[in-house]
């Protein structure tokens, strides 16, 4: 089976990128896929959330030409930690396609790039290496603005025929439909981006508890609401 490469991006910080990336990785691993999370965030949260050592050599090492060993979080679920080295000058001067080239021969069914907030050259490495992108936003205009910037970049790359994600969807994170902003978010995105698929990931304390206790989501609570939402996303990724 061909490798599936997913970038999870938002531009804005704190809107649930790492939660969705790691949750999705756990869901896909539980479906029998061999999954690797590649953390592009200097804050190195993904390895932490999945219960592995966030300070071990990881993505920066890979991008510098090394071959770091992926850390095993659970059966079939592996992670390459991010870390401060990602902010270094050598990584900044990489070609946007370098990550895409570095991962081509990796032996996994699924690669998930957890993009950082703000740092555009790192986010771009992920978007260019991916064939599918998930753009996260929560129900706040600032998050919608960040998501809009990512969408515009993806569109532009596609128009210019450049390497990168070919299809993308919006992941609406931490949605609680009792709140008025949350209620109107979906409608607004449908109006602004009528051709882009949207997925709701409901507000679910299981996600934050799993992260805090450093246990993959499916191991923490495989029946939680968010897990069900993420399964719908996994289905879209694999089956369009």
């Amino acid at each position: 089976m061909a490798q599936t490469r997913i970038a999870v991006a938002a531009r804005k910080g704190g809107v649930g990128k790492t939660s969705i990336a790691c949750g999705l990785s756990s869901v896909m691993a539980s479906q029998g896929k061999r999954v690797l999370v590649i953390d592009l965030d200097p804050q190195s949260n993904a390895a932490y959330v999945l219960g592995t050592n966030p300070t071990a050599p990881g993505t920066a090492d890979l991008l510098s030409g090394g071959s770091p060993r992926a850390l095993e979080a659970s059966p079939d679920l592996y992670v390459l930690p991010g870390g401060p080295d990602l902010a270094g000058h050598t990584i900044q001067s990489l070609d946007p396609e370098d990550l895409a080239d570095a991962v081509t021969s990796m032996d996994y069914d699924v690669l998930i790039f957890d993009c950082p907030p703000g740092v555009e050259y790192l986010e771009r490495l992920g978007l260019v290496a991916a064939d599918v992108a998930l753009i996260c936003t929560d129900a706040h205009p600032l998050a919608v603005m960040g998501a809009g910037r990512v969408i515009n970049e993806l569109k532009l790359r596609q128009q210019k025929g450049r390497r990168g994600a070919k299809r993308w969807a919006l992941a609406l994170s931490r949605i609680d439909l009792r709140r008025s902003m949350d209620q109107s978010l979906d409608q607004q995105l449908a109006t602004a981006y009528p051709t882009i698929d949207r997925f709701i990931v409901h507000q679910d304390s299981a996600v934050s508890w799993a992260g805090a206790e450093r246990v993959p989501l499916m191991k923490y609570d495989s029946n939680c609401k968010a897990a069900k939402d993420l399964k719908a996303i996994a289905n879209w990724v694999f089956n369009g």
Partner: protein, 273 residues
């Protein structure tokens, strides 16, 4: 508390802003792409020497620089174009090669990743030879003074780039050689004019020198002297005619006269000087 606006409006504002900021995102991406292509380090093998130097390298200076680089590393990066062709730093580049050849261990210590610091300028020297020359000259300005010969050679290169010696204000499309050279090497236009006209004068002198009769005569007499010496050293043939016999007889005195003339003319020429 201000009356709360409808959240659809708030989101619409956010998406509109995302579109508005997109242009800036693109500009930033283009800029970082450009900066990325302008490398700050290159492997020594990828730094290509330029085809012509405005002046020959001074071997002593190269040796001194190699010693300095061995002790301190490369303090000033080499200046290269987008293809890694050297624009400025000919002595430093030569010193790097010398150090690599003579003391690889220290070279590896100073350049552990094999990368040399460069300052990459965003143009191609092949496409813009004039700009390349200007960079090379600007770098050398106010360092070691250019000798008259070097100035003459620079003038030659500028002529090949369509600079002309023009009187008065240059017409459209014309480039004035004198002022350009003066600016480039940091001397007055008057000095450049003087050097170039002296150079022309010397050129003429050279031609005149050979055409001065006394020197011409000296040259011929010296030739005759050498030929006669050679002739007298040949083994004698068995059968010789009358004329030749007479010649052999006359030869020592003739040779002495030739030598005497050479001496006389020589001292006359020296007195003239």
């Amino acid at each position: 508390m201000a009356r709360r606006r409808n959240s659809a409006d708030l989101f619409a504002e956010a998406t509109a802003t995302a579109d508005a900021i997109h242009e800036q995102d693109q500009a930033a991406a283009a800029k970082s792409e450009q900066e990325r292509s302008q490398k700050t380090k290159l492997p020594l093998s990828q730094i290509r020497a330029r085809e012509t130097d405005t002046r020959p390298l001074d071997p002593q200076h190269v040796t001194n620089l190699a010693e300095s680089i061995a002790a301190l590393g490369l303090i000033e990066p080499l200046v290269v174009d987008v293809k890694g062709v050297l624009l400025a730093g000919g002595h430093r580049l030569a010193a790097l090669h010398a150090l690599q050849e003579t003391n690889l261990e220290i070279y590896d210590q100073q350049f552990p990743d094999g990368q040399i610091q460069v300052h990459m300028l965003g143009f191609d020297a092949d496409q813009e030879p004039e700009r390349a020359l200007q960079v090379e000259l600007a770098e050398n300005e106010k360092r070691v003074n250019y000798t008259r010969d070097q100035i003459a050679r620079l003038a030659e290169r500028l002529r090949s780039l369509n600079y002309r010696e023009i009187r008065g204000r240059p017409k459209e499309g014309e480039k004035a050689l004198g002022p350009a050279l003066a600016v480039a090497i940091g001397v007055s236009a008057r000095y450049v004019r003087k050097v170039l006209s002296e150079q022309r004068q010397e050129g003429r002198d050279e031609k005149n020198r050979n055409s001065v009769p006394i020197i011409q005569k000296l040259r011929l007499l010296k030739k005759i002297e050498a030929a006669l010496n050679e002739l007298s050293e040949l083994p004698e043939s068995e059968q010789i005619g009358r004329s030749e016999r007479a010649l052999i007889k006359a030869l020592p005195e003739f040779l002495a006269n030739v030598k005497g003339s050479v001496k006389d003319i020589d001292s006359a020429v020296h007195q003239q000087k």
